[in-house]
């Protein structure tokens, strides 16, 4: 159970003079299923990189009362924050079960590590069921279908009782059915946990997002429910614009300044 959300204040990431993330404020409530959308180069992935300690950033990122900035990647991960990458990275030569067991194991003592795995830990069994991979548990992860690899990655976050999941384009390259299944999986796992999804797929976003933040040029352009964001003229201009419905353009909803 997450009793706390993610609070980002004045987050700024600069690479050699180029500002990729330029003073982002975000408040993501516990149990939310938040979609981060925005055109290429808007700073979505960089934002997640900063939160998870992969790139240096200034400002403040707090989760569960803990400041995340300045911590090395593995320490951020130990606070219950997990992420996936655009390309599914599972351990291809290990089985589904071994992948999940390793994911569950950070913090195991040396004696446990030096022993052979006996049986299946309970959290691994649960993650296998949640992600629907039970029947494939003894297969090497390398032979899984693309969608199944993404679900395995999500499963690898679930086993360690992650409270905040940051998913980078989880449905990219998936078939329609796989997208639906992934959406339902995200619905199921949010609520108990906070889920942040970077996504390009607008249909997927409309079907499953509880709330949306639109990023543009390193800044938060708009924030709110799917309907609110879609009605935002500025959003339409930079992102949805060219293909959007004319009646929505008239309703220039003021952008809610970050609460």
């Amino acid at each position: 159970m997450s009793g706390e959300g993610l609070t980002v204040r004045g987050l700024r990431v600069t690479f050699d003079g180029f500002t990729a993330v330029d003073g982002v404020d975000l408040d993501i409530l516990p149990g939310d299923l938040r979609f981060l959308i925005g055109p290429n180069g808007a700073g979505k992935t960089t934002l997640v990189d900063a939160v998870t300690g992969l790139v240096r950033a200034s400002g403040s990122v707090r989760f569960g009362g803990e400041e995340l900035l300045g911590r090395p990647v593995h320490r951020v991960a130990r606070l219950g924050i997990g992420r996936t990458f655009q390309t599914a990275t599972v351990f291809e030569e290990l089985t589904v079960l071994q992948n999940l067991d390793i994911a569950a194991g950070a913090g195991r003592g040396p004696l446990t590590m030096l022993r052979r795995r006996k049986g299946v830990p309970e959290e691994v069994t649960r993650a296998l069921e949640t992600t629907g991979l039970t029947a494939l548990r003894d297969r090497p992860a390398g032979v899984l279908a693309h969608g199944q690899k993404q679900w395995l990655e999500i499963g690898m976050l679930l086993v360690k009782d992650v409270r905040l999941l940051l998913l980078d384009e989880p449905v990219a390259g998936m078939s329609h059915d796989e997208r639906e299944a992934t959406g339902r999986l995200l619905r199921r796992i949010s609520g108990d946990r906070t889920v942040v999804v970077i996504e390009h797929d607008m249909d997927f976003m409309r079907s499953f997002a509880r709330s949306v933040s639109v990023l543009h040029a390193g800044k938060v352009l708009s924030e709110g429910s799917v309907a609110e964001v879609q009605a935002d003229a500025r959003v339409q201009e930079v992102y949805l614009g060219r293909a959007s419905e004319p009646e929505a353009q008239a309703a220039a909803v003021p952008v809610p300044e970050e609460a």
Binding site: V90, E93, I102, A103, R116, G119, E122, R137
Partner: protein
């Protein structure tokens, strides 16, 4: 892998499920192979081999002990350890220093023979003194290489030095260590190294019976270390090490520090190399910079590469086979061996990354792709 694949669909799994017992053959495959190896090394080899051959085999088995560590660090951990000579040398010199001091004590001298020849003073250097104690020297043969590896690995892995850079760095260290030893003629014997070792904890190494005893010790240590390495391979740590090899970043995001995972493999491999070096000294009677520099360091990994670095048995058999080929061929064609060695390394790494241990699998797969008629036959 033998797996009794569960039927598709929801199988009701009770929380602490024990793995289904493997088929009988599979369950006794590893202990069976181990017993067979023990029988070969400890039973048959001493019976059928001459003193000379058995002594050579003891030397090869020392290389095989290094290969056990290489298999762990490189095969499983992806660390191309091209500088194992340093650790082999540290273990070898620690042992040889003690044996030289013990030899000198037998004849009533306080200094080893080479110091009396080249030494500047009459006093034993301070850092030699503790090695007069056999327990200290024995402990140092393993602890010293492990400590050096821990120190080096701590900085190198934390700085995320990996791949070719790590290989070059470890090789440079081997070169530096050998060069330093050569420069310290008065205290390390310089280019000659520590030679002409007579006794081994009170046993005369000139006596063939004692040489056989040394062989038995080497073989027993190899078998023990193989058993220990096998346990590491199948443990959760072993799975994690493979995960680090395949995707270090991913492991980091799971909350592990991959630097520590690699450090353990590196330090254990260094300890094994040190022990191998220590056993090499009574088996061969010498340790010198030429045995631990760049060329021998590459030699340590070639056996594992040829045999199959990820397979423990492959690495060990490969190390023994390459060492045997080397001493057979380098007698007849001394110059050709170096070329052949390089060629073996390139061919194994480039074309058969799994080594000879994977040959059967690779050939079977090839045949199947070329000739669909045989598919499903094997």
């Amino acid at each position: 892998m033998t797996t009794t694949t569960p039927p598709a669909g929801k199988t009701a799994t009770k929380p602490p499920v024990t793995e289904p017992p493997a088929p009988l053959l599979e369950r006794f495959r590893v202990p069976g192979a181990f017993l067979l190896g023990a029988l070969l090394l400890l039973g048959i080899a001493p019976l059928v081999l001459s003193d000379f051959r058995l002594n050579l085999l003891a030397k090869y088995l020392c290389y095989a002990i290094v290969a056990v560590g290489v298999s762990l660090a490189w095969g499983r951990g992806g660390l191309l350890v091209l500088g194992q000579g340093v650790f082999f040398g540290l273990g070898g010199y620690a042992m040889a220093m003690h044996l030289k001091l013990a030899d000198a004590a037998v004849t009533g001298e306080t200094l080893p023979d080479f110091m009396r020849l080249y030494g500047t003073g009459d006093a034993l250097p301070w850092w030699w003194k503790p090695f007069a104690n056999p327990a200290f020297a024995l402990a140092m043969t393993v602890l010293l290489p492990m400590a050096v590896a821990a120190l080096l690995g701590f900085f190198v892995f934390r700085r995320r030095v990996r791949g070719a850079y790590f290989a070059i760095l470890s090789q440079a260290l081997a070169a530096a260590f050998a060069i330093w030893l050569v420069g310290q003629q008065a205290t390390t014997g310089g280019t000659n190294g520590l030679t002409d070792i007579q006794g081994f904890f009170g046993y005369d190494l000139g006596d063939p019976v004692n040489q056989r005893m040394v062989y038995v010790i080497v073989a027993a240590v190899l078998l023990l270390l193989m058993a220990a390495a096998r346990q590491l391979f199948v443990s959760r740590y072993g799975e994690l090490l493979v995960a680090v090899r395949d995707s270090e970043e991913r492991v980091r995001f799971l909350g592990y520090n991959p630097a520590n995972v690699k450090l353990v493999a590196y330090v254990v491999a260094a300890g094994m190399a040190g022990l191998a070096g220590a056993l090499f000294v009574p088996a061969v009677g010498i340790i010198s910079p030429a045995l631990i520099g760049i060329v021998p360091s590459i030699g340590f990994v070639i056996g594992a590469a040829v045999g199959g670095r990820a397979s423990l048995l492959g690495a060990v058999v490969g190390a023994i086979a390459v060492a045997w080929t080397q001493s057979t061929l380098s007698d007849a064609y001394p110059a050709a061996w170096t070329y052949l060695q390089g060629l073996l390394f390139v061919v194994a790494v480039g074309f058969l990354p799994g080594g000879l241990a994977s040959l059967v699998t690779v050939l079977r797969r090839k045949r199947h792709t070329h000739d669909p008629a045989t598919e499903g036959a094997a």
